[in-house]
Symmetry: C2
Subunit: 144 residues, 2 copies
Amino acid sequence: MEPRLSFVTLGVSDVGRSRKFYEALGFRASAASQAGVAFFDLGGIVLSVFGREALANDAGVPVSKPGFSGVSLAHNVNSEAEVDRILNEAQSAGGKLLKLGQKAFWGGYSGYFADPDGHLWEIAHNPFMPLDAKGRVTLPEPAP
Amino acid sequence: MEPRLSFVTLGVSDVGRSRKFYEALGFRASAASQAGVAFFDLGGIVLSVFGREALANDAGVPVSKPGFSGVSLAHNVNSEAEVDRILNEAQSAGGKLLKLGQKAFWGGYSGYFADPDGHLWEIAHNPFMPLDAKGRVTLPEPAP
């Protein structure tokens, strides 16, 4: 299997509400979006929002009550000030601030918000993993 | 907030086991990986595996029993045969086959497996969203 990721799909209770939330954050829904699903291009990877039950049914797994998903998405930026600014922006868009921007145990600076369904987003500044011109994280190569 | 995604972090019960699983699938762990976390470059986005409780603590949310996460990751490929091949590969690596490759309601072909912690992966062939030379999904532009 090639090291590639194509989609991250978030199961949500109301696709229209989630679409509006992510649009308020600055994402633009693809013309392929429909009533039951919305797609956002996040630089070569697609974020999609889709009904939570429909997602469980599609995967063939039982739905369970939403709780801690065990998954978080991170958006890395170039400064601590930008972390704070985006956390504010997310709150204004209707996100729930979970953790104010603060020094992180791994040496950087980060905070968290949750989207309307509780999906976790970390906004982070990591001075050890600089962003390239396209805003992509530069990860140290695998050991030879 | 710019439309970019930097990391997808999966909370897992045993980072070493998860690292081995993803290595068996063909991903290569970055030299930045440590005992408590592993990072895989998936074409400009980073997949990381990190302790499930540590992730909840970091986000400041209560841990709950693992159930349906409400999130799935998708890996798109160029043919139905490739979907079947990768689902087999995932099963050989210790993944749990959840759904055999089959015609999907959206017109393509896909199947699902779960990683050792139940995180969902869909392997999909979508003839309506062709892959570019780097294997990235080409999403129709937002409506003007």
